[in-house]
């Protein structure tokens, strides 16, 4: 293997690894705040990528309609839970969040989609469509189970994953799509051409990490999320509503998913079920980080990307096998170092 190939593989690995890092961070975030192991994270990636690809062709993405459905379902659940104690304030808030917001986004998409938009606007529109879904998914699937065990929440996640993947199939069909890059061209780094899209990916990943850091360290809401992660009851005792932190965590996760989708859509063809595999690679990183450490997860994600790049060069048939068995040594190591005296 010569150094050119090596450089290409490293660059390829880092590009994918950066995406996995974003997803891994979202998974750690959601788990810390809500104890939900968020298997459907990958579906947001697929939704984001496919939405962008359809906007590229000037068509109306199915996710806009799906957003309306999600909002309506969340609204109906709110109505149901308010049936004993109807309150004007809660009701109007629910109308606003669950009906007005998705209708507004749908309307905006309907107007904007046929126009030949600038790439950045399309990316932002994609995020606007996908991000609120995080909130609705939380409201519909997880909020009623707030007291359930991690195991029950995990099984719930698998159910949500199945449903969202199936809905992806309904709304996007079985065909794969690829989006246009945010900006074309490439730069030369010595002898190695770096596509502009890769720079976007690195930039967005770093920006997301810095953004999350500032959010968690400097804002009261961010601190409330950390507080919930550290001590759930303590957070409730100072008046932090679990629904607020849970909803925020899921919106962040969906946003990160959408961003990842937007970033990855131009470099690989995305099918309705591709997101799951991409999300699981983020999981491999998150598990290496013990579902707790952001920096370890980010580093592990880069590692996963590199292993995958090299595996696809040397043993392309065994690429997925190698990536997914990466967690076995990690689990062994954890099992040897963890004290198993814990009650569920």
């Amino acid at each position: 293997m010569d150094s050119t190939i090596l450089a290409f593989l490293v660059q390829d690995g880092l590009t994918n690894g950066a995406i996995y890092a974003l997803l891994g961070l979202a998974l750690v975030l959601v788990f810390a705040v809500t104890r939900v192991i968020f298997i459907p994270q990958g579906e947001f990636v697929a939704y984001g990528a496919l939405t962008l690809a359809l906007l590229d062709t000037g068509r109306m993405p199915g996710t806009a309609l799906l957003l309306l459905c999600f909002g309506l379902a969340a609204f109906l659940l709110d109505l149901w839970s308010m049936r004993h104690r109807p309150r004007i304030g809660e009701f109007s808030r629910s109308v606003l969040v669950n009906l007005v917001l998705p209708v507004a986004i749908y309307g905006a998409t309907w107007i904007l989609a046929p126009m030949q938009l600038n790439a950045a606007v399309k990316a932002l529109l994609t995020m606007a469509i996908v991000a609120p879904m995080g909130l609705y998914v939380y409201r519909i699937a997880y909020r009623p189970l707030a007291d359930a065990s991690v195991l029950v929440l995990l099984i719930t996640s698998v159910g949500v994953h199945l449903a969202m993947m199936g809905l992806g199939l309904v709304f996007f069909g079985a065909e794969g799509l690829r989006a246009r890059p945010l900006s074309g061209g490439s730069f030369m780094l010595g002898f190695l051409p770096i596509p502009a899209q890769a720079l976007w990916i690195y930039g967005c990943t770093i920006a997301a990490m810095v953004g999350l850091y500032v959010f968690f360290e400097k804002t009261l809401l961010g601190k409330a999320l950390r507080a919930t992660a550290v001590n759930r009851l303590g957070a409730r005792l100072v008046g932090v509503r679990t629904q607020l932190t849970g909803g925020t965590a899921f919106i962040l996760a969906a946003t990160i998913g959408a961003v990842s989708g937007v970033l990855i859509a131009p470099i690989t063809t995305i099918y309705y079920d591709t997101g799951f595999l991409i999300g699981l690679k983020g999981f491999v990183a998150a598990i290496i980080g013990g579902l707790a450490s952001f920096p370890v997860t980010a580093l592990a994600a880069l590692g996963v990307g590199l292993v995958e790049a090299f595996a696809s060069f040397f043993a392309s048939n065994f690429k997925e096998i190698i990536v997914f068995t990466l967690i076995i040594p990690v689990l062994i190591w954890r099992s040897l170092t963890t004290d198993h005296h814990e009650e569920d």
Binding site: L220, V230, G234, L237, V238, R241
Partner: protein
């Protein structure tokens, strides 16, 4: 004048076993009311029910109306519980803990209250950058109390503030509790350390096996033989 807090026939069950068998009492504004009793009498459960942490049946009236449904809404309504376990955010700084205590307050109010409380608790001001988990037992109790005060509560529920603290620190904490009453905060105090609790309280209730056994002014309760027996044992 209406009561600040009124409990009527409060019952709590864990699984199928009932642990509180219909507790009723009321407390007036500006008073310290203490609930004393042995371990397992149901004192902590009673506070948790009042705060909405455990589901209960019966009626809880707060400021004359039905108490809000959730813990968070009760905090917003001016109730605040300092739990037996303190429930601090151990891996966050003292200052972060304090700020979160004022989560429901506006930025200005939060800053004012924080400055006030740093004056009242200079130890916490000194350690504002330190992680809450690294504080000593007494400092943790101070922080728990100060964090609760950040929400500017009208009713403070205190669960065993003396637990695990040396007598000198217990005295200090209870001194602060007395001062809070002077400042207009009403306090429902659960204590195993009956002697100390009765010293600062206005009224007292003795709990046994999930029921209120005796009630009365704190001073006369201290001399009540039932209280003495419950604590000192008859040595039969």
């Amino acid at each position: 004048m209406s009561l600040l807090l009124e409990l009527r026939d409060i019952r709590v069950s864990y699984g199928k076993a009932e642990v509180l068998h219909g507790v009723s009492f009321g407390m007036e504004r500006g008073k310290i009311v203490t609930v004393i009793g042995a371990n397992g009498a149901g004192k902590t459960t009673l506070l948790n029910a009042a705060m909405g942490i455990v589901p209960s049946t019966g009626t809880i009236l707060y400021e004359g109306a039905a108490v809000p449904a959730t813990v968070e809404a009760r905090v917003a309504a001016g109730m605040c519980l300092v739990s037996e376990k303190r429930e601090l955010f151990a891996t966050m700084s003292v200052e972060d803990n304090m700020e979160l205590g004022g989560f429901l307050r506006s930025g200005v109010e939060r800053a004012e209250t924080l400055a006030d409380l740093y004056q009242r608790f200079p130890r916490l001001a000194e350690r504002r950058k330190q992680l809450a988990g690294t504080l000593s037992g007494g400092e943790r109790q101070m922080l728990a109390l100060a964090r609760a005060l950040m929400s500017r509560p009208r009713l403070l529920l205190l669960d065993e503030p003396s637990l695990g603290l040396a007598p000198r620190i217990v005295a200090e904490i209870l001194g602060i509790v007395s001062e809070l009453r002077m400042a207009g905060v009403s306090i429902l105090l659960v204590e195993q350390n009956a002697r100390a609790a009765l010293e600062i309280a206005d009224e007292a209730h003795l709990m046994e096996l999930g029921e209120i056994r005796r009630s009365g002014p704190a001073a006369s309760m201290a001399a009540d033989p039932a209280v003495v027996e419950s604590y000192l044992g008859t040595g039969a």
